[in-house]
């Protein structure tokens, strides 16, 4: 299936071995964060605000402290002062004051579910009882729930110190304005034969990982702390917790547990500093686990958005101008991914004239966190719908329209510099040539839609160690929590370089004291950047193997070659030697062999995906059933194709949930009314068809194995693809998510009324 441009001959890469952590995960042995238990461990629970926006006038904890079994209670008074300033923390940009305020509300609560106090007790039930005994006096303020409400004159201000880059010293809810432009949009629109202008609104949605956030904190009397937790970035948990707790980074060790999904949502901290604070107060290990309701109310979903897109094309189907205004709900603190959305919204196309204005707006909702290609799915819903409409106006097949305007190597990116080798057109052609797209869709109320998406992917810092054991097998140690099977890829890269069977390589995700700094598992970067570190570390081990063989053979290193897993002496007469044969002689030739590498990876290759979906709409209820779905994505090089397909399928399924079901539903008081999986409905297996995948392999020239990273971009096209399919099925252009039955039915009835009206007028 793979359309390979990577011509190198691999033995292990590209095969589908059983994942090394697999048996533990099918037998229940794998230890996730909530599975950790220690002697004398206490259980913590968090008191959360029932109000979306209120001043905390007082917190009384005496009654709760008197409950038998309660050992300690912490509030923001237990946190050190934090500075209101953007700082670099690892690769994250962090405002220490905002971070601290999100861990435990200082003087104000800013969303339903905002943490106020945490209790440690001998059982989770007692801790929960204690929460009910904590008395908080609030002065309730009007909630500000939408971009429109936050930006209208006289809107209540959430953060009194917030200022932006344009309004001077005026208090505001607009945290930041970004602008990107090229060419002359007035001239561009003048040249257009067709102009489409639409406004889109998307609901806030959650990553929906099945495993709730968790942490066990152990603070020792010598000032050393250890945190066990499920996280995408142990080093980030360490630096962010150090920030909040006012502790030196070196005094905290973070042990990453197996992680039950993250999708960007586990790149920050919530419970981790609380577990340490409570442990410090009690002298015992303290475990905290969120409930599902807490996860939805108080972790970091992705922003709802309001996006206005105006685009123009000439009759022959050339995009000539785009004007875009977009505003994202950051949540209670600044930092939505609106800039990423702005840079991605038209990234797949060459458009000579554009103006993009993007705004980051604070509202009384939980502080948003990353979610798979952050900020881009919302954006692509808007642009890819308008592009579909322009293709229709021009009478051009929507895939051909994309191919005609799509970016190729050398085309300028939104920021100006040219793309290096990319595979966007190839993803379009893969869909165009797919059995799915060539098949005929028949039947009433059925429609087919396509859409495409772009995501940058990320590089950043990674470390890796490859240890060769005395029997010639190896372990590969990295600092990247494995969220979707990446340990398999790390073992495969090591095995490929060293010519070992993959079963002879054991991959390990180490804690923060056992491996060099490694940035968060995010940005589709693990197989790319950590994979690069692993490749280099294995190469380092290979160099040492050559030196040792040279010593054994009493030759110079340049007289020894490593090929096909064997060491060869140049010239004749000497039989080749395997690593297994050499390994017992490590001690006599200089000691153990440990290959090491650390990278701040450059050469990131962006990812593209194109998706086609067939839907059937029930015109009486507005329910949409997915009939068929195919996604094509450029992986650069697929190390383990099954897990590449898995990423493509998982991202697509999340995109479909975003399109059809998922939304944060707040009432007028700013209370989240669907904080459970019953009402916050993610797709079940009955909602989805098989998700067909086509892996495109347009090698990334910036990576030794051609890898791009595949974790994110597949979530970008589905929302627009579903909307475009609905249009083909029932003639309705949906401009809001979710396209749930009530919303779609309303649109269908309105459309039916309009067409009947015009028919009557004829």
């Amino acid at each position: 299936m793979a359309e390979s441009t990577t011509t190198r001959d691999f033995k292990v890469i590209g095969t589908r071995p059983i994942r090394p952590d697999g048996v533990d995960k099918v037998t229940g042995r794998a230890k996730f964060g909530a599975d950790y238990a220690f002697p004398g461990m206490l259980h913590g629970k968090v008191l959360r605000s029932p109000h979306a926006h209120a001043i905390i006038k007082s917190i009384k904890i005496d009654k709760a402290l008197k409950l038998p079994g309660v050992k300690a209670i912490v509030t923001s008074k237990d946190l050190p002062a934090a500075e209101n300033k953007l700082e670099q923390s690892g690769e994250m940009t962090v405002n220490p004051m905002h971070l601290s305020m999100n861990i435990l509300a200082h003087d104000k609560v800013l969303y339903d579910g905002h943490a106020i106090a945490a209790v440690a007790a001998t059982s989770p039930h007692i801790a929960e009882e204690a929460l009910r005994l904590i008395e908080v006096e609030y002065e309730v303020l009007p909630p500000v729930m939408t971009v429109d409400a936050a930006t209208k004159p006289g809107a209540p201000i959430l953060l009194k110190d917030l200022r932006n880059n344009e309004e001077g010293d005026k208090p505001t809810n607009v945290a930041q304005h970004y602008q990107f432009k090229r060419g002359d949009i007035a001239a561009g629109f003048k040249a257009a034969d067709y102009v489409i202008e639409r406004e889109f609104n998307t609901a806030m949605v959650h990553q929906g990982y099945i495993e709730p956030h968790n942490a066990v904190g152990i603070y020792n009397s010598d000032g050393q702390a250890t945190i066990y937790c499920s996280t995408q970035g142990a080093f980030d948990v360490r630096s962010l917790s150090a920030q909040v707790l006012g502790m030196p980074v070196g005094k905290i060790k973070v042990v990453p547990a197996e992680i039950g999904g993250g999708f960007g949502g586990k790149t920050t901290i919530y419970l981790e500093p609380l577990s340490v604070l409570l442990s410090k107060k009690t002298g015992a290990p303290v475990k905290l686990v969120m409930s599902r309701s807490e996860v939805l109310r108080a972790s970091g979903p992705t922003p709802g958005s309001k996006i206005k897109v105006k685009m123009g094309a000439t009759k022959d189907g050339k995009l000539v101008a785009a004007e875009i205004w977009m505003a994202y709900q950051a949540g209670a603190f600044p930092g939505s991914p609106v800039a990423a959305g702005a840079l991605c919204i038209i990234a797949p196309y060459t458009i000579e004239n554009f103006l993009i204005d993007a705004y980051d707006v604070v509202v009384n909702r939980p502080k948003t966190a990353a979610y798979r290609a952050p900020g881009t799915t919302q954006a692509a819903f808007a642009s890819e719908t308008v592009i579909d409409e322009l293709a229709e106006k021009c009478g051009i097949d929507p895939i051909d329209f994309r191919i005609k305007n799509g970016v190729k190597e050398g085309a300028p990116q939104v920021l100006g510099p040219p793309f290096k080798r990319i595979g966007f057109i190839q993803t379009c052609e893969a869909i165009k040539n797919s059995e799915h797209y060539k098949s005929k869709l028949t039947g009433k109320f059925r429609g087919r839609g396509v859409a495409s998406g772009f995501w940058f992917n990320a590089g950043m810092q990674s470390s890796a160690t490859v240890n060769i054991h005395t029997d010639g097998t190896a372990s590969v140690v990295t600092g990247s929590p494995d969220i979707g099977g990446s340990r398999a890829s790390m073992a495969m890269i090591t095995a490929e370089v060293l010519g070992l069977p993959v079963t002879d390589v054991r991959p390990i995700t180490a804690d923060t004291d056992s491996i060099g700094h490694t940035d968060v598992t995010a940005g589709s970067r693990v197989t790319f950047a950590t994979g690069m570190a692993v490749y280099e570390a294995a190469k380092d081990a290979e160099r040492q193997l050559i030196e040792r063989a040279a010593k054994v053979w009493e030759k110079k290193p340049d007289e020894v070659e490593f090929r096909g897993g064997m060491l060869h002496a140049k010239g004749n007469g000497v039989p080749p030697m395997s690593i297994k044969q050499l390994a017992p002689r490590f001690a006599r030739t200089g000691g153990p062999i440990t290959g090491r590498a650390s990278v701040n990876a450059r050469g990131v290759g962006p990812g593209f995906a194109t998706t086609v979906v067939d839907v059937e709409v029930d015109p009486d209820t507005g329910k949409v059933q997915l009939l068929r779905c195919t996604v094509a994505q450029d992986a650069g090089k697929a190390i383990h194709p099954s897990y590449v397909e898995g990423q493509m399928q998982g991202g697509t399924a999340q995109g479909i949930g975003w399109a059809l079901n998922e939304e944060y539903f707040y009432d007028d008081n700013g209370t989240l009314r669907n904080s459970g999986f019953l009402d916050y409905r993610i797709p079940t297996c009955l909602d989805l068809p098989m998700i067909e995948t086509i892996i495109v392999e347009e090698a990334n020239p910036g990576h030794p194995l051609g890898v791009r990273g595949v974790g994110e971009v597949s979530i970008v096209p589905p929302v627009a693809a579903v909307a475009n399919a609905i249009y083909r099925a029932v003639g309705v252009r949906m401009t809001q998510t979710p396209m749930s039955p009530p919303k779609l039915l309303k649109a269908i009835l309105k459309h039916r009324g309009a067409t009947q009206h015009s028919a009557a007028a004829d």
Binding site: T93, N165, D236, G335, A340, P417, P418, A458, G523
Partner: protein
């Protein structure tokens, strides 16, 4: 001479000019020269002597990682863009 592409919202410092040729061999030199030519723009780009955490530097189409220490070539194109890596927390 390296070219610096001024972000749209900082073009108020350059009288609307988008592309500026600036002599220099490192990001530090480019920002310093920019500040000399367009007073105030350097303060928008720097914090505590290095590039602001909210800004990323792209040199010849690739995100650079060295802040003010990164070197630039004779014909390099440098962009200052919003930092995206890892997101803000």
């Amino acid at each position: 001479m390296p070219t610096v592409v001024i972000p749209a919202l900082l073009r108020k410092f350059t009288g609307g000019v988008e592309r500026v040729e600036v002599p220099g061999k490192s990001i530090r030199e480019l920002v310093q020269r920019l500040g000399e030519r367009f007073p105030g723009i350097d303060r928008q780009l720097l914090q505590d002597g290095d590039i602001r955490p909210s800004i990323a530097v792209s040199i010849d189409g690739e995100i650079a990682t060295g802040g003010v220490l990164d070197t630039v070539g004779e014909n390099s194109e440098v962009h200052f863009i919003p930092a995206l890596g890892g997101g803000e927390v």
